[in-house]
């Protein structure tokens, strides 16, 4: 379990992380969602004791990371797959990590096998593709068979096969009862990976909920209606739902009642309909809607 309490990180006047509190539970994949620059990586670095919080506290099973005796046996982390010396072989990289936490060196071959890098274990990590580097990073995270795992944007730059592999892998880790905390800026990715979500924007908590609940809350279904008697129809519908004009197409966008109900209401009043189409809000739109206020860099 990871517990953050009123976590803060300020760089001068910039508040990278601002009063952030959340809990990550074991046995589930928890997504850490937010636009680029929301403070996800900074938060993860604070969890791992790399950066010192300006205020607040974050603990792993009641302990600060720096208090852990052999931290790799408790927490495995992949923050950046490129944190490897390019002229060091994959095996040597894992070997020094293992020795540092008194993990048997035989474990190195095991994790190489798990991530499928056995064949290239003797090759220098500098020549690895991004996908291979990610696998090596995951091997490093798994080395100590830890209860808690942190991954920062693990699918960035991966091909579909790699994405699927990582997704299934994280589910397996969680089903083994581990705490899995994974960040992403893509809701569509998290919707398929995470059971719980912690959503942040501009360093502040936007939501902590289950993924299902978040999507249900965030995506609102609407119905598009077109009619030659738009003004009359709007009057009728306004009593039951929220109606907005879509001036571009000359149609009405109705929110709050189903297409079936709209059709029945129109029939009662003998209004002709030219279009009656339910619209499903996309996840990305909903996410953008939610974090709109907290995106740091806009394109104009």
């Amino acid at each position: 379990m990871i517990e953050a309490v009123r976590l803060q990180k300020h760089y001068g006047k910039t508040k990278a992380v601002d009063d952030l509190s959340f809990t990550v539970r074991p046995g589930r994949v928890t997504g850490f969602l937010g636009p680029n620059g929301a403070g996800k990586s900074t938060t993860m670095r604070m969890i791992l004791g790399l950066d010192t919080p300006t205020g607040g506290d974050v603990k792993i099973d009641g302990k600060h990371y720096v208090e852990l005796k052999q931290p790799l046996r408790k927490v495995g982390a992949l923050l950046d797959a490129k944190w490897v010396h390019p002229n060091r072989s994959a095996r040597s990289h894992l070997k020094w990590l293992a020795v540092s936490n008194k993990i048997p060196v035989s474990r190195v071959n095991e994790v190489l096998e798990v991530v499928g890098l056995t064949e290239v274990a003797h090759k220098n990590a500098g020549g690895f593709s991004l996908g291979m580097s990610q696998r090596l990073g995951i091997a490093g995270a798994l080395l100590g068979d830890p209860e808690v795992l942190l991954f920062d944007e693990p699918v960035n730059g991966l091909d579909p096969e790699g994405i699927l592999w990582i997704r299934q892998f994280m589910h397996r880790l969680a089903s083994e009862g581990r705490t899995v905390f994974v960040s992403s800026h893509l809701l569509s990715e998290m919707a398929q990976t995470a059971q719980d979500l912690i959503v942040i924007g501009k360093g502040q908590l936007i939501a902590q909920t289950t993924t299902e609940q978040f999507i249900a809350d965030a995506t609102q279904d609407t119905v598009r209606v077109r009619s030659p008697h738009a003004a009359k129809l709007r009057e009728i519908l306004a009593a039951h739902a929220t109606v907005t004009d879509d001036s571009a197409s000359g149609s009405l966008v109705v929110q709050g009642i189903t297409a079936q109900q709209i059709g029945e209401l129109a029939a009662e009043s003998q209004v002709v309909l030219h279009e009656l189409s339910p619209q499903r809000g996309s996840l990305e739109e909903a996410f953008m809607q939610l974090t709109k206020e907290s995106v740091e860099y806009h394109a104009h």
Partner: protein, 251 residues
Amino acid sequence: MTLLAVERIKLFSTRSPYWCSALALVLGVGLTAIIAASTDNGQLSLGATQFGSSQLALSVVLVMAALAVTTEYRFSTIRATFLAVPNRTSALVAKTVVVAFIAALLGEIIAFGSVGIAKVLSPASDLAITTSDEWRHVAGVGLLYGIGAIIAIAVGILVRQTAGAVAILLVWNMLLEGLIGIIPKAGVKIQAWLPFMNANHFLQLGGGDPAESPGAGVDFKFSQWGSLAYFAAIAVAMLVVALIVAKRRDA
């Protein structure tokens, strides 16, 4: 002990320490070979065998030691290190011990290798190491390298960039301390307190022409072993500052 093993694995699983060691060996011993070959047989002094080791090769060893730290920052493996060993002080001290030990060992190999090659090329010269001063002059090179490596690591931790750290170390060791002597009157007084000047003072052989040795005309405040202790104290002080900074700084 665990951390020493970790740093040993890290150091020897990349190529740069091998290259730097080979380069230091070639430059140090090579310069002695050139001096020996161009000096009349029988005229070569023991002091002349250590020009290469105490000046040229030292610079390469300083670069090697600085690289051991700056490459960790360059490739962010320092973060991987701090994740594996959250006690940053012990991780960095372990690295310092390993690198300083290897530097010292290399220093001894270069110093005695230089004497060896001089004996081969100038067999008639008296190059026997008999007095304690002569032993200090040759065997002391290893101590100089070991302590120099500590300074280089401290600079590496503070600067975090290879180019910056290497520039600082080379300019400091090869140019700055010597150039300060140009300042009228005050120059030599300042030089008496400069670390690498004191390091060279430690190595100085009694006898011969004192005007030829580095630091000539400087009125050192310490005995020769005192100068070494002073050099070591500065190295340790710099390392302590670097460790405090590394502990407080975000990795």
